[in-house]
Symmetry: C3
């Protein structure tokens, strides 16, 4: 069985962001074949910004390992952030909430780190 | 496919309550046919009270759009709140936790805003 | 239908731990046949320690009622905690995140208290 999981990150705390990244790394050690997607929304947006994030290297490594990092366009619009401000390799989705609903109903598990 | 999703709100922070409402609104713009239920529990109870909530208008609008707002009776009992103190249009369920389990196992997605 | 649910506890706040335990107790009153598992991870580890937890009696009662309490071995290793420091009756799983993914994909609901 293919394991598939969403990580929902929407808080400002950079400790929470580090926890999310560490948790995904742990998962990939245990389940290297898992399909993993991190959904970045709301106050967690700074995590995804090339100029602000303390996790640029870590997120790029996860992307290189096949993790999808999906950033909420509703959040970006509300905060005046354009796609070229994101860490390269991250993706933009129309809305985090739509992504979370759609992908869960396609069978992905949900974890709020 | 019909999208169906639960929003679980159990924290005191009114910022969290506003986030929940805004997120539901965003979802309905993207998926107007989605079946949406907000489950209010524990420290989030003030969000549902006619006299205290800062979100009376917003919640009534969501109810008018077909969103179900389900308030935990266990919480109400523990805090001495009766059904007539709730914002009109909200519903009472025996327990938030039972509702969250039952409805997920009926196929609804889960989001903790 | 057999109700099956995971409770994911990963925060330091002992109020959150008490909320988790109370919520599980409420669920078992309503659904005595439910299969319930509490997954303890990260900053929530003290909840599971015989010497530190304020919830030793409550957790043992839940275990006696058939609740599985699963503690993350990745967390234990990172914090230098061995299995004999845990409250008797609790179980160790290789990783909380793997457990949460695996068990959701086996059909368990997910609640973040």
């Amino acid at each position: 069985m293919a394991y598939r999981v969403l990580f929902h990150v929407n808080e400002a705390s950079s400790e929470k962001h580090q926890t999310a990244v560490r948790t995904v790394r742990n998962l990939l050690k245990e389940m290297p074949e898992a399909e993993v997607e991190i959904v970045v929304q709301g106050d967690a947006l700074p995590m995804a910004l090339a100029q602000e994030s303390t996790l640029v290297t870590e997120l790029r490594q996860l992307v290189d390992q096949g993790v999808r990092v999906a950033v909420c366009h509703n959040t970006m619009k509300a905060r005046g952030v354009s796609a070229d401000a994101l860490i390269p390799g991250l993706e933009v989705v129309p809305s985090a909430v739509g992504e979370l609903v759609r992908r869960q109903q396609e069978g992905m598990a949900y974890i709020k780190p």
